[in-house]
Amino acid sequence: MHDPGEVKIPIGPQHPALKEPESFLISLHGEKITASSVRLGYNHRGIEKACEERTYIQDLYLIERICGICSHSHSTCFVQAVEEIAGLEIPTRARYIRTLISELERIHSHLLWLGVAGHEIGFDTLLMYTWRDREAVMDILALLSGNRVNYGINTIGGVRRDIKPEQKEKVLKAIDILEERTKYYIGLAQEESTILERLSKVGTVSRQDAERLGAVGPTARASGIERDVRKDDPYAAYAELDFKVITSDKCDVYGRTIVRLGELMESYSMVRQLIQKLPDGPITIKAPRKIPAGQAVSRYEAPRGEDFHYVRSNGTEKPDRVKVRAPTLANIQAVSKMLEDGYLADIPIVIAAIDPCFSCTDRLISLRDAEKQSKNVVTWESIRLKGIEWYKKQGIDFTILNKKLAESF
């Protein structure tokens, strides 16, 4: 039955609350949410397909560009799978450097999230403060890798850059500053009344629901699920590090904030341990250009949750298939549940609380006719033919050239 007081409001694909295009259609009764639906697929870039056309080394840089924030997560996850297929055992020093960069990345990602969360609840001062402090870790990443994001530190069989003793000093100094600032934010989150009002009891998802919907990362841990790839299935140097898995039983946005702040403190301690324990030795071993046939699955705890890569090789220098499952795809299922019985004002912070990264998530486009509401799957071959037709119309025709090329062989 049609409810006369019902308003349908689109959040996205273009909306100030969303940093990437994604569509949430929300039905409202007054300020209350009655129904919500999520639509993905506005930012599909065909990276998986493109990987099949490139060599493993080229793929490494392409994979790194899946995400602007957790770029190291994707590249490490991919390179681990490739190394497993090739049977490469990378040097210990390389494992430590990979872990160091990955923890620094987690620090910068969580600080970024804290600022975004502040902005979503209208607390711009928090945004300005956290992003100012985040510069400290960005500078460190630039110092170690040469880049602020897309570090390009991984290579098949190790890492590309070594860490010098004077760089260690600078890292430790920056970590001291960041630790002090994070303690201040933890105090702020526990005491500031408007933050507590806006975050507590908002976007709740119970432990059972989180498990059923397959939530990962801080979203799952804030619902009391102790799930962390770094502990469950240690990779890189995590088995040799001493750290706790931070969980919270609050199940709401406030719990997710507390978990992320706690993880920041754990990351600082991990960075200190890594710097202290960093062993001597080579940073890379020689890797073959052609990877032997085989397949491998690799898991990695990205700042947003479990990242999952599948690689199948066919003995050539190009992979046969690459499959990426970014953490947001696992968490997005829980968003509809979180929005149930919520208010319009809570939508931005609830969506932001899973720390979404939509462009990493999009794996396909489904084209929909707006009037007929019909769906339509486009195959690779039909896209190719359409491209050829389109260029023909522009006066660019390669058919004769292709024929000549085929004859000459």
């Binding site: 609840i121 209208g122 711009d124 403060y129 408007t194 933050i195 806006r198 004002a345």
Partner: protein, 314 residues
């Protein structure tokens, strides 16, 4: 007659307010930036923004009611400007005054909010309509404590004219201090009126884009922004007259005017400080807060002033 035209067009009317509102916006933005550890805009930024917006194309949604859509910014602007004529600035006397002008000023200051509601409603965009409903809902929450506080101050002075009120407090130095609770409550209500954090619910950027202003652009948006700035200045001026009425018997008129400016900028600074300290509340939380705490406290101020009126020497 000539004096009246001068009052309306130059001082304290249109021209003065226009320039003053730019300065006020600059002070607000610069202070906010400094509180947030940013550098902030240069001094001419508000003027540059105004010129930029004014030179842009005017886009009106197809479904919008063109007349209302265009008239709303003008209504909001004129109502705020009209209010200043009855507020004593730079002395005991306002440009015009009569017994009962407090009510007129308060209602003139309500007109912009009603105008924003109409503008949002007739924009016919979901975001604007939700913003419009929110701004009206919020109006009913902050208006009562605000009016009660101003009323309490008027009760103590036993007059319905702002100029006479200023006169009374000037001859009874120190009496204004009894209204300090009312002043605090009125300041918080002012945040709601000016739609600033934590009460910027009607134009919550991350939720409903820009609320009632979503569909506005170009010249109309420039006028709307100016009317909001003028509302800030007029609201602060009203507070200087009602809650900070002292120092009117300085020797030089320039000194009195300077003191007025200091008072207004202090109020703006407090508003800016408050808006950089908090997160935005939800509409239901805001209404709860206003009715649970602000309105009862405002009533306490009214009762206290009724008792004080009997005790204090007149």
């Amino acid at each position: 007659m000539l004096k009246a035209i001068f009052s309306i067009l130059v001082f304290p009317g249109f021209l003065f307010l226009f320039i003053f509102s730019f300065v006020a916006e600059y002070v607000d933005r610069k202070l906010c930036a400094r509180f947030q550890n940013r550098i902030g805009p240069p001094w001419f930024q508000p003027l540059a923004d105004f010129i930029k917006l004014a030179s842009k194309e005017e886009i009106i949604p197809l479904e919008a009611d063109v007349t209302v859509f265009k008239l709303v910014p003008v209504f909001a602007l004129t109502a705020s400007i009209a209010a200043i004529l009855y507020i004593p600035i730079g002395g005991e006397r306002a440009a015009f005054s009569f017994n009962g002008d407090i009510i007129v000023v308060l209602y003139l200051l309500t007109i912009p909010t009603i105008a924003y509601f109409l503008g949002g409603w007739y924009s016919r965009s979901v975001y604007s309509m939700i913003g419009a409903v929110r701004s009206l809902t919020q109006l009913f929450a902050y208006e009562v404590p605000l009016f009660l506080c101003v009323l309490a101050s008027a009760l103590l002075a036993d007059t319905w004219s702002l100029s006479e009120m200023a006169n009374f407090y000037n001859h009874h130095p120190g009496y204004w201090f009894f209204n300090i609770l009312g002043f605090a409550i009125a300041l918080i209500s002012l945040l709601g009126k000016l739609e600033k954090v934590p009460f910027d619910i009607p134009e919550a950027e991350t939720e409903i884009v820009a609320g009632v202003f979503t569909e506005y652009g170009g010249r109309l948006l420039a006028l709307l922004r100016t009317s909001l700035n003028i509302e800030t200045v007029v609201g602060a001026s009203l507070f200087t007259a009602v809650f900070l009425p002292f120092g009117f018997n300085l020797h030089h008129p320039a000194a009195i005017f300077l003191l007025y400016l200091v008072k207004v900028f202090s109020i703006i600074a407090v508003v800016t400080l408050l808006r950089s300290l908090f997160a935005r509340l939800r509409l239901d939380q805001m209404i709860n807060f206003c009715w649970k705490y602000l309105a009862p406290l405002a009533l306490v101020q009214v009762v206290a002033n009724l008792i004080l009126k009997g005790i204090l020497p007149r």
